[in-house]
Homo-oligomer: 239 residues x 8
């Protein structure tokens, strides 16, 4: 049952072809969700201007291109975790590619990365937040073992609506930032490290156990998730 | 919006108070699920005769009693993982308690336990399957290290619609049974063991890696889940 | 000792060459299993029409071809987890290859996959169930985060004897499906995901802990095991 | 060196007792942080009205009382994870106790719990968010296996600035909610479950791997952290 | 079918009541294992003098007593992992209790323990080996960090047929012993330790990774298994 | 200090050049181990005919060749875990290569493998045991899910002094064999499997938790260690 | 063979009762280590003034008392991880008890603890270092989320020869301290935390992955080991 | 604000352009750390002669070259974990490359490696310690299973200020060394091993659980961290 059929049924009630009880029975025997769908407009996503998203990893370049072609007719498309080949096929560079223009930005997200190697994840977070409609500023290479490098970041931390903090190895930076600011802070553990880093597990556990309250965590290397979350929180603050 | 209100709206369409388009708009502005609920009868559970279930673990005795009282007006109630005190308060004994009579049984589930200590989990599986409307037969203490003890179980395995196999320690029994029978086999790892058993993890992993196809696994000590699954599969075979 | 020798011994008892006590001694000194084998027909597998199965992974293409050649004389052969090269050598495509025709199908298995990337595992489950003699219908890309996509799957879920649900990442789809249907449901975690997915561990644990009863689980990426289990359960229902 | 001494030094520069270069030397030989502290007002916490927090777990009742007494002179105090005895000593009940009145609330946080047993963690989140100055509304027992129970929660989800979702076992509820709403969503895994739940690890991993973007996660049972994060994000939206 | 019935069938063949083919059919329709059992004497265990074994852990004192009473009619009984109460009920002391006299000992097993705290596991190994019919000599408190304490043990190591080495914490002693002797060495990790010992996991992993060849390992705290293995190996050497 | 110097010192005591007290002082100031070495003959290894062993994995082909050249002057050399290139350089094939002739064999070791894929590990165990001076017989592809395949193995199991059982996946075969025989049994888990096999962890844990006593375990894929252990145990039985 | 017997043998060589060759033979047939012991003075420990150490955990109070009585005749005794009862029996309070006076202190160890709850582990480290002969100064409650609390600690950090840093939860403090100082830093993870702290695993992994070089780690809650290490390093600097 | 601006402000106070209170306000509104930096000289690192460090792993050769070029103007640069290509581009060989001359060495660090395969990690430790200004001596291939090989190492162990012990597999060597010497001992687990070594986890856990006190541990394969720590501790002893 779709919207047209629901409309037709109501027409039959109106012209007496169907009694209200009969209509109710017809509705009641339709599948649960089909019924709901026949009435409800679920295209909210498109109206908000949020991009459709394609995770390129685990897909062939052709599958990615097909996905992008199909979705780009509905608006902008964000493609994450592209291989160099996939990126090239999209006429772009980098692991994270936005097809189309981002929405008008509202609010500010700060993306702070602990080390040079954390760059690609920070970039994924930044491009994602940008694609979901917020302003983004980045500060890289702010290690916890050299706290003086926090200097450049301090004013930005105070201006931002949400802070994204990207760190691998021992993942201590969010705890330090979390003690400095009262802004909501999204911590992104990365798989940078070796040995007892166990692919980012050490950073993940450290962030989950942060003694600084107001720190929430996303999956290892999940710049995308952090970007979406931060963009939503920042947009709430700037309706 | 509930069923009554949906009915009233349709009456208004029928008497011309509302045009079909207006009714469609009204439906469309109702919350998604409330709308669906207003049309759909979700009481299938009660009609099938399946009991309501209360997990006693982590609840106070009073909470369990309140749950049971509320639910027993709708029919039978199965209470799992009772403490002795909770069980006593229900006027019963054992960790698994059925309040009310089970439905008329259809089909046969065999519950095979590897060791004496696996008994309580096997009992949970058996009582659950019984409460969900199948016949149950049990064989206990069929260890993989004494294959001759499989003798008593063999005819039952051939008669059963579904076999539940409960085992702790190395969890090898399902692999052995799975090589003997062509019946669907639900493996239940138990937390019986010590040291590198890691609370049932060893048995769980062994069962998931069984070289015998046709073995599916439930959570450690989850006799309840195995019982429900088996009862459903056995009833499919005896409509 | 084989069936012929057992027959000859009995002939000797019949013609008085051997006393019953002497025959009993002869039987008693034969190896345990050889004895049993001399009497018992264990070829049930072939009579049911179930295919022989070859796991191609970890074997050379030549080993796979040799296995297939040897087994195909006894009937149909299912080859799982083929590399492209192995698949080509078998004159086929895809990771899962059936040599010969499947048995006449009985019953219906629904295979529901959460994401595009879960496709190969869903395919393995579907081809396996087909090769073991049931009808199979598939619905792909039914993500838990877009419940409206369950619409297309709903009628199929109600018709199926058994449902196989394939999902990676957080593995939540079986819990949602398990709340909608009363059909036995086999959950297959996949290794799709990254970071704290730990190669499918997250999905596996989620499925084992499903709050929806009636969910049983197989190994990560084990479409084969799910297919065999489901086929057996569906055939029980259609003897 | 403290603020007074810094002031005195500057006075000496002003009256010529000290040259600028001498003052610079004096400052440069002070300890790094003491120096910074002599200039900077770090009492932002108190001005925002955020409560001081005492984690009662692992402390004796006397230690908790001493902490509370010392801190309550500076304003409100939130005590988390009280034992019944500690709670009683504070003249309160429940695991989470607020001493003093909360600040004037701004914004709205929704706290959704999957099961009855997740209640104490949801309560910790709710009281914490309240103590940090936001309005809180709760919906309990919204299981993923019974999606129709989401009905009551839907309007609240749309009104809230931030959603906190508390769930144990397979931890699937955040994925389902995350597909329905565009609001930032904090997922709190709980240790409710048994066997392969591994003390909440299953729920934690599921939430970290959620296929719904915009989900961030805190530590197992960490209602407090979720409450602080949500309150901060909600207050950003209502300055 | 039991031995008597098999005998009767053969009698009928002898007197012509049954043809050989009919007898074969009758045998072939008997359950697989029952058939084998009707011919085979499986009481080897009792003839070797090995004790029956009861694992007391996880059983009530009454269950243990019932087990012991039933089994002691067939000969000696070894009860492992007794609680003090269970031990008392058996008229004994210690966690490991032998009811009845051990068989005449053959061969020699050395049981070497690293620390005082490893004593109960070493005792379990020693009493078990004794109960399975070998001579046992023990040396305690031979820590790897004080190699000079190996002095007392050296002559024993050279005389023994098999060495059992019991150690917790880092579990290094087997590697050191394994470099000194050419005797087969069974390593028993214990749960002695704390923190990153993870209940004996550290010792277990160390032993499995021993750079000294000729080291085999049993479960954490499994003195019983080591004792049985060692007794069997030592008896092979002294038929 | 070496044997010659110790001899010279004693000569000086004998001719009065040195008093006993002076000699004692000289000995006491020598390094601990050098002292012991100066008296003790530690070349037992060579006298027993055991080969020197080179682990090829993680070494360059040149390093392997250098090791082999240096050691082969002292007698036979066993090279384990060769890459094809390393094997070729040694003028051999296979992962496990013996340079030189094995010692005269004493005793019998049975090597039982569960599946075809476990072959290389079983081969490593067999060649190692052979190189350490025992007779070896192998039976391959004895899966636990097809117990009838144990038939061919049964007589061998009874004749062997020690049994090595090699199995991947759920690792259940040692438990089944351990219930059939009273011979010491070394279980070798292999990394064959996928998903929740976790690189052989499932098989390892299953074997450590075997309910059949008399099973000892070596590291995953450690055919070498099992071979050495078994050879030593078998030689003890045939001095 | 002991020192006296070695002396007697040399005397016999001196008086011609024994030839040098005969003496060499006698020495060569003595057990390896006994031989070495007959010459070497191994009482270095006592001469350095280091205390004997008794780990009370896992011992009965009587066993602890017996150990202490036996050892205290040789000098001072340090008893770690006392229960209150054991502590009382020793006439002391606290988990870590020194019987006798510490040696004259040399060098300085700083013990920095992150939180109040880390106190007992910091105390164990401090008393141990004191008992091994160094001066100790402590600073407590220096959390990474409140860096300004490092102020008081800064001068101490610069004066100390070695720094011990004790922290639970996310274990980030050593990384921050390690970026501030060039002093060797021993990090002690504690089991303080909950949920994904996994008994101190999170802090342990964080410390092992510290991006600040010059950080070494001991076992979870192992204040004792940190104290010994630090005391040894500090004493090296003050011979 | 930098040092120059702070100087100018003080000048304005001196010439009356600014009152002390105004200056205090200006300082107080500067960012926290910028303020501190304006006064404090943080170039201690360069003055100590410690090299700047570049972790080559995870960087492109170009990124490494750029880093080295930028840093080498400030003095010596240590590059760790170079790929062969990166090493070549630096005009060097080996994984660890020092650009420039090391500082004048003070003190002695001994680097002991258990096996040939542990060589690269031992080399990283040795070159690092050398680059941080200490003398280094190495002993390789000192396995715990062949204790006599400790002979050559013994005198060095007594002379060294700090001992670094590098070992994979079961990681037992530090426990043995720790029992022989009273020198601070840094244990470096390596990823050498297979199966249940789990990438060095077995060695790591063993070292953390060492029964020999005075052993501290760094990350798996972290020769760099051990080298820095050891160099710092050795330099403390030789100011």
């Amino acid at each position: 049952m779709d919207r047209d059929e629901a409309s037709r049924l109501l027409g039959q009630v109106a012209d007496g072809t169907l009694t209200p009880a009969q209509a109710l029975d017809r509705f009641a025997t339709a599948p649960y969700d089909a019924l709901a769908h026949s009435f409800v407009d679920t295209h909210r996503g498109l109206r908000t201007g949020d991009p459709e998203v394609v995770l390129a990893e685990g897909k062939t370049t052709q599958q990615v291109m097909d996905n992008v072609t199909a979705l780009s007719q509905q608006g902008r498309v964000l493609v994450t975790r592209c291989s160099p080949e996939q990126s090239l096929a999209l006429g772009a560079s980098g692991r994270t590619v936005l097809i189309g223009e981002p929405p008008e930005p509202r609010g500010l997200v700060a993306v702070i990365a602990a080390g040079t190697s954390d760059g690609p994840v920070a970039e994924e977070a930044a491009i994602t937040a940008h694609a979901f409609g917020v302003n983004v500023e980045r500060v890289d290479d702010v290690g916890v073992a050299g706290l003086h490098r926090l200097v450049a970041a301090r004013p930005l931390l105070d201006r931002a609506d949400v802070v994204i903090c990207v760190a691998g190895m021992e993942g201590a930076l969010p705890s330090v930032l979390g003690g400095l600011v009262g802004t909501p802070l999204i911590a992104v553990p990365t798989s940078i490290g070796y040995g007892a880093s166990f692919g980012g597990l050490a950073a993940l556990l450290a962030m989950l156990n942060s003694c600084a309250p107001g720190v929430a965590v996303v999956n290892i290397d999940n710049g995308f998730g952090a970007g979406v979350f931060a963009a939503r929180a920042a947009r709430v603050a700037h309706p």
